[in-house]
C-alpha cells in the first residue's frame, strides 16, 4: 500500500461519513422537521393525570354500598433506588413484604423506572407514621394520596376493585388506563366498569426539564400553562338491592350455615337481595393482605369467596317438580284432575322399588296435591310418559340450565342432561327411563343456581312472563340517567306454559302453604297470599340434604328463594328463613316500595 493511498482511503471514508451525517440531518430537520417541532412544542408541557372519581354504588333507596375515601398509598420510583437490599429490609420490617414481592414489583415496572408506581395501597396511620420517619433515607419512596374504595357491607354482587395488572394494562392502556389505575375486578364493579370509571382529566403544566413547574411565570405567559381538561367522574350506580332487606337477611340467616338467598321483584326482575353465605369482606382487597390471612382464607373449606347465588350450581330437588308438572300439563299428559299411581311410600318400577320421601305414602293424588305434599311417586309415574330430550328443551325454555343474564359477571350455566349426554357418560345401554325417574323430582345430573330457581318462580308468579334478574336500577350523573334497558335487551321471556296451566301450578304452590299437610304450612299467614315449594335435594351419600325453599308473595310482589347448603329439610330449615323475609318485607318495605 503506497503512502498515496492512505490519504485516498481517508478521503473516501470522510466523504462517506459526511454523506451519512448530511442525510441524517436532512431527514431530521427537513423531512421530519414539522413533526419534531410539534414534539418540541409539546415537550415542555408536562401532562399529569387528574384522576376521575369512580362512581359510587348505592342501594335502591340511596343508602351507600361502595364509596370512595381518600387514602395514602405507598409509591416507589424504581429509578431512584440506591440500595435494593436495604429497601427490602426496610419494607419487610414496616409492611411485612417479602423480598420476592419487591423483586416482582421491580420486574413489573422495569419500563417505567422513573415513574411513581404504586406498591402498597391504603397505608394505615401507624404505617404512615413509621414511614414518615425514614422517608428521607429512601428517596425512591413516595406517598401518593388518592381514592380507595370502602364497601359498607360484605357481599358478593358488588365485587371489588384492584390495581390494574400487567395483562390488563397491556390490553387497556390505549383506553384511558394508567399503570396505576383501579379496575373493577369482579361483580358489579367489573360489569359496569365502563360507566363507573369516568374519564381521567389532563393537567398541562409548563415545566422545565426537571419537571419543575413554571407557574411562577404565569402572568408572562398569559395562562398558557394552565390548560386543564377536567376529569369526567364516573356515574353513580343505584342498584335494585334493598340494603335494609339485605342486612335483615344477613342477620336472620343462621350464621353457621352456608347457602344463598335471592329476593326478586317478580314484576320487573329487580333483585332486592342477593345474599351468599359465608361472606367475605371485600375491603381486605383494598390494602395488602397479610400472607397468613390470605393463606387462611384460601384454606377455608367453606369457600367464602364463592358466590353461591349465581356462580355455584346445586341439584334443585323438589322445587323442580313444578317444571315436571308444567311439562305434564302442557303436553296434555295430565290435567288438573288426573290421578296417577298409588303412593304407598314408594313405587315398584320393574324389579326396583323406588321410595317416596314419606314412607307412609300419600295415596292417589292429582297434580295439585302432589305439589302440595311433594309426592315423589306422582312424578315418578309422570316421568314414564316424558321424553328426555323434549323435556330438556322445555327446561331450557324455562330459562334453566342456561345463564339468566344477570348483570354480575361469570354467572354459572347450570346443567341439564340429554339422552346423548347419558349415552356418552354411561354407555349406549344405560336406562334413560331410570335416569328420568330421578330427574323428575329434581335429583340426579341436573344443577341449577339459586338465582335461576328464583327467576323461575318469579316467572310463574308473573303469570308466565319471566323477567331477567338484574341489579342495576339506574346509573346517574348530573341530569343523565341510564337504566337497565340501556344495557340489556330482551328483558322478558314468555315461559312455555299457558296461563291456565300456570294457574294450576299456582294452585298447588298455594296449597303448600295453606293446607295443613303442605310442606311449608309454617309460612301460612291469614289474609296473605304466599305461594311456595320446598325441596330437600340429596347430593351425596351420607350428607345432609340441601334445603330449598322457593316461593313468592302476591301481596308484596316478591319472589324469594332460600338455599341452605347441606342444611337438611326444605320445610324445616329453608322455609322459616323465607317466612321471616316475607314478614319483614310485608311489614317494613312493601308499604313504601311502590314509590320507587
Amino acid at each position: 500500500m503506497s503512502n498515496q493511498s492512505i490519504s485516498q482511503i481517508l478521503k473516501v471514508i470522510m466523504y462517506v461519513g459526511f454523506c451519512i451525517l448530511i442525510i441524517g440531518l436532512a431527514k431530521l430537520q427537513i423531512v421530519d422537521g414539522e413533526l419534531y417541532s410539534e414534539y418540541a412544542k409539546n415537550n415542555y408541557v408536562k401532562k399529569s393525570r387528574l384522576e376521575a372519581n369512580r362512581g359510587e354504588i348505592f342501594d335502591r333507596n340511596g343508602l351507600p354500598i361502595a364509596q370512595n375515601y381518600p387514602a395514602i398509598h405507598l409509591a416507589i420510583i424504581p429509578g431512584f433506588i440506591k440500595d435494593v437490599d436495604s429497601l427490602k429490609a426496610f419494607l419487610s420490617t414496616c409492611l411485612n413484604t417479602t423480598s420476592e414481592d419487591v423483586d416482582k414489583f421491580l420486574y413489573d415496572t422495569r419500563f417505567r423506572t422513573y415513574r411513581e408506581n404504586i406498591f402498597i395501597d391504603n397505608l394505615n396511620q401507624q404505617q404512615v407514621a413509621k414511614f414518615a420517619e425514614y422517608v428521607n433515607y429512601f428517596p425512591e419512596l413516595r406517598f401518593s394520596i388518592s381514592n380507595t374504595r370502602k364497601y359498607h357491607i360484605p357481599n358478593h354482587f358488588t365485587g371489588y376493585i384492584g390495581r390494574i395488572n400487567q395483562q390488563e394494562y397491556a390490553r387497556l392502556k390505549d383506553k384511558d388506563y394508567h399503570y396505576n389505575s383501579f379496575l373493577g375486578k369482579t361483580g358489579i364493579e367489573k360489569e359496569y366498569e365502563s360507566i363507573l370509571k369516568g374519564i381521567d382529566g389532563v393537567k398541562l403544566n409548563l415545566v422545565d426539564a426537571k419537571g419543575k413547574d413554571l407557574d411562577l411565570f404565569n402572568s408572562i405567559t398569559q395562562n398558557r400553562n394552565n390548560i386543564n381538561i377536567p376529569p369526567v367522574n364516573g356515574m353513580d350506580l343505584f342498584l335494585t338491592i334493598d340494603l335494609k332487606l339485605q342486612k335483615f337477611i344477613d342477620d336472620s340467616f343462621p350464621p353457621e350455615l352456608r347457602g344463598a338467598v335471592v329476593v326478586m321483584n317478580y314484576e320487573n326482575g329487580e333483585v332486592l337481595a342477593y345474599v351468599s353465605r359465608p361472606e367475605f369482606d371485600q375491603n381486605i382487597f383494598m390494602s395488602k393482605i397479610p400472607n397468613n390471612v390470605w393463606e387462611s382464607i384460601k384454606a377455608d373449606t367453606t369457600k367464602p369467596f364463592l358466590d353461591r347465588v349465581s356462580k355455584a350450581v346445586y341439584p334443585p330437588g323438589s322445587v323442580f317438580k313444578v317444571i315436571t308438572a308444567g311439562y305434564g300439563l302442557e303436553n296434555n299428559i295430565i290435567n288438573r284432575w288426573t290421578k296417577l299411581s298409588y303412593c304407598d311410600g314408594g313405587l315398584q318400577i320393574g324389579d326396583k322399588y323406588v321410595k317416596c320421601w314419606n314412607r307412609y305414602g300419600h295415596g292417589r293424588l292429582n297434580v295439585i296435591d302432589a305439589l302440595k305434599v311433594s309426592c315423589d311417586v306422582f312424578f315418578y309415574d309422570l316421568s314414564f310418559r316424558i321424553d328426555l330430550d323434549n323435556f330438556c328443551y322445555f327446561v331450557k325454555d324455562y330459562m334453566l340450565s342456561e345463564k339468566t343474564g344477570i348483570d354480575v359477571p361469570n354467572e354459572a350455566n347450570g346443567f341439564f342432561p340429554t339422552t346423548k349426554w347419558y349415552k356418552n357418560m354411561y354407555g349406549p345401554y344405560t336406562s334413560i327411563r331410570g335416569h328420568m325417574v330421578n330427574l323428575s323430582i329434581g335429583q340426579g345430573e341436573m344443577f341449577m343456581t339459586p338465582l335461576q330457581i328464583c327467576a323461575l318462580f318469579a316467572g310463574i308468579a308473573n303469570e308466565g312472563v319471566w323477567n331477567k334478574p338484574h341489579l342495576l336500577k339506574k346509573a346517574v350523573k348530573g341530569d343523565s340517567v341510564l337504566t337497565i334497558t340501556d344495557f340489556i335487551e330482551n328483558l322478558q321471556v314468555r315461559l312455555p306454559n299457558s296461563l291456565e296451566n300456570i294457574s294450576i301450578i299456582e294452585e298447588g304452590l298455594r296449597k303448600v302453604i295453606t293446607q295443613r299437610k303442605g310442606t311449608a304450612h309454617s309460612l301460612y299467614r291469614p289474609n296473605r297470599n304466599i305461594y311456595g315449594k320446598t325441596g330437600s335435594a340429596e347430593h351425596k351419600e351420607g350428607k345432609e340434604t340441601h334445603a330449598w325453599f322457593a316461593g313468592y308473595d302476591k301481596d308484596s310482589k316478591i319472589a324469594v328463594t332460600v338455599f341452605v347448603q347441606e342444611g337438611g329439610g326444605g320445610g324445616s330449615v329453608a322455609a322459616p328463613i323465607a317466612g321471616k323475609i316475607f314478614d319483614y318485607y310485608y311489614k317494613n318495605i312493601g308499604s313504601y316500595n311502590d314509590e320507587n
Binding site: M1, N3, Q4, I6, S7, I9, L10, K11, I13, M14, G17, F18, I20, L21, I22, G24, L25, A26, L28, Q29, I30, D32, G33, E34, L35, Y36, S37, Y39, A40, K41, N43, Y44, G79, F111, T113, Y114, R115, V207, D208, A209, K210, L214, L216, F217, I220, T221
Partner: protein, 403 residues
C-alpha cells in the same frame, strides 16, 4: 527556520473559525431564559479564556525547534499515563473518574493522552526495518495502556477514539488490512452477538473462509476463530440486562423516555425542530427549558441545530470538511514518515469524534461520551485539538527544512 510560504492559512482560518463558532454556541448554550427569567452560566467565558491561551500556544508550537517537541514525546506519554492513574484516585464526578479538579478548572487526562499516544505510536512505527507483526505489537503495546486506564474510569467512548487512531496509523505504515480485520473481528462478532447470535455465527464462518482462502498459517487461523467464538459466547452470557436495555433503547429510544433514551429523544427533538432555518439565536425552546442537561458539552450540536437550523449546520459541516480535507492534503505533502503517521492519527481522531458526536446528536449513533472537536465546551479538549492542528501546521511549515 519557519518558512512562512508553507504556512497553511486555510487550515489556520478553518481552525480559528471553528473555535470561534464554538464559543458563540457555548454562549447561547450557557443562557437559559424563560420570560424575564434568565440564567447565564460562565462556560463561554471560561472557553474564551482557553481560546486566548490557545492562540499563543499555537504559535509557540510553530516557533519552538522541532527537536524539543521530539524530546517531549516520550515524557509526555509517560506523564499522561501517570495522570490517567492519578485520575482514578480522585473523587468521582458524575459517577466516573474522568477529571482532575484544579481550582475551578477540570483537567481531563484522557484528552492529553490522545495526542501523546498518537505521537509516541507514530514515533515508534516510523522506525525502519520492522515487520508487520512487530508494527502491530508496537502499536498495540503503546495504545493498550491508556486504553486500559480509560476503560476503568470508565469512559468507553474515548477508548474508541484510541482504537480508530491506532488502526488508521497502522494502515498508514502499510500493515495489510487483513491483519487489522483479524484484529477487529472479535469486536465485530461480540457486537453482532448482542443483536443476534446467528449473525455472529455467520460472521465467524465468513471470517474463517476468508482466512482459509488467504492461506494463513493454521495456528493463526485457529487462534483467530477460537478467540471470536469464545469472545462472542462470553459476552453473550455476561451481558447484563441494563446493557442489553441500553442497546435496545438505542434502537427504540421511546422505550424509556425518561431513562436511557432521554437524551437521544430530546436531542433529536431539538435538532429536528430547528428545521431549515432554526429557531433563531438564543431562541431554542429545548435549550431554554433545559431539556438536555449537558447541552454545552457532548450535546452542543443539538443547540446549534435547534437555533440555527439545517442551512447553518451545512455551513458548520463545510468548515469541518474544509479543515479535514486540508489535513488529508497535508498527509501527502509531509515526507517525514513519523509526521505523516501522526497526521493520519490526528485526522482520524478528529474525524471520528466529529462523526460520532454529530451522529449521536441526530440519533444515528449510540450515545457515547465523545465531544464535538473545537465546539464542545471543555478546556482540555480545546487545547489538545488545537495543539493537534498546530502540530500539523508545524509539519507543513517545516517540511522543507527536513527535506
Amino acid at each position: 527556520m519557519t518558512k512562512i510560504k508553507n504556512f497553511d492559512l486555510g487550515l489556520f482560518i478553518a481552525w480559528f473559525l471553528l473555535v470561534s463558532v464554538g464559543i458563540v454556541i457555548i454562549y447561547t448554550a450557557s443562557i437559559t431564559s424563560y420570560g424575564e427569567f434568565i440564567q447565564i452560566d460562565n462556560f463561554y467565558i471560561k472557553q474564551l479564556i482557553f481560546f486566548m491561551l490557545v492562540i499563543p500556544l499555537f504559535f509557540l508550537i510553530l516557533k519552538i525547534p522541532y527537536f524539543i517537541i521530539d524530546a517531549l514525546i516520550v515524557p509526555g506519554y509517560i506523564i499522561s499515563i501517570i495522570l490517567l492513574v492519578i485520575v482514578l484516585f480522585t473523587p468521582e464526578i458524575n459517577g466516573s473518574n474522568r477529571w482532575i479538579q484544579i481550582g475551578s478548572f477540570r483537567l481531563q487526562p484522557s484528552e492529553i493522552a490522545k495526542i501523546t499516544t498518537i505521537l509516541i505510536i507514530s514515533k515508534f512505527l516510523a522506525k525502519p526495518h520492522q515487520g508487520d507483526s512487530r508494527k502491530i505489537l508496537t502499536g498495540f503495546g503503546l495504545a493498550i495502556v491508556p486504553i486500559f486506564l480509560i476503560m476503568i474510569e470508565p469512559d468507553f467512548g474515548t477508548t474508541l477514539v484510541f482504537w480508530v487512531a491506532l488502526f488508521s496509523m497502522l494502515l498508514a505504515v502499510n500493515v495489510p488490512i487483513i491483519y487489522l480485520i483479524i484484529l477487529i473481528a472479535p469486536i465485530v462478532s461480540i457486537s453482532l452477538v448482542i443483536f443476534s447470535p446467528y449473525s455472529s455465527i455467520v460472521f465467524i464462518i465468513l471470517l474463517s473462509i476468508l482466512l482459509f482462502k488467504l492461506k494463513f498459517h493454521w495456528v493463526i487461523q485457529a487462534i483467530s476463530v477460537l478467540v471470536n467464538i469464545f469472545g462472542s459466547i462470553i459476552f453473550w452470557q455476561i451481558l447484563k440486562p441494563y446493557q442489553i436495555n441500553r442497546i435496545l433503547t438505542f434502537i427504540d429510544p421511546t422505550r424509556d423516555p425518561l431513562g436511557a433514551g432521554y437524551q437521544v429523544i430530546q436531542s433529536k427533538i431539538a435538532v429536528g425542530s430547528g428545521k431549515l432555518w432554526g429557531k433563531g439565536f438564543l431562541q431554542g425552546t429545548q435549550k431554554n427549558l433545559n431539556f438536555l442537561p449537558e447541552h454545552h458539552t457532548d450535546f452542543i450540536f443539538s443547540v446549534y441545530g435547534e437555533e440555527l437550523g439545517f442551512i447553518f449546520s451545512m455551513l458548520l459541516f463545510s468548515l469541518f470538511f474544509f479543515l479535514l480535507i486540508k489535513i488529508i492534503k497535508s498527509i501527502d505533502k509531509i515526507y517525514v514518515l513519523e509526521r505523516k503517521i501522526a497526521t493520519v492519527g490526528i485526522f482520524s481522531f478528529i474525524f471520528f469524534q466529529l462523526f460520532v458526536n454529530i451522529g449521536m446528536n441526530i440519533g444515528i449513533v449510540p450515545t457515547t461520551g465523545v465531544p464535538l472537536p473545537f465546539i464542545s465546551y471543555g478546556g482540555s479538549n480545546l487545547v489538545i485539538n488545537s495543539v493537534s492542528i498546530a502540530l500539523v501546521q508545524k509539519y507543513l511549515v517545516e517540511k522543507g527544512f527536513m527535506k
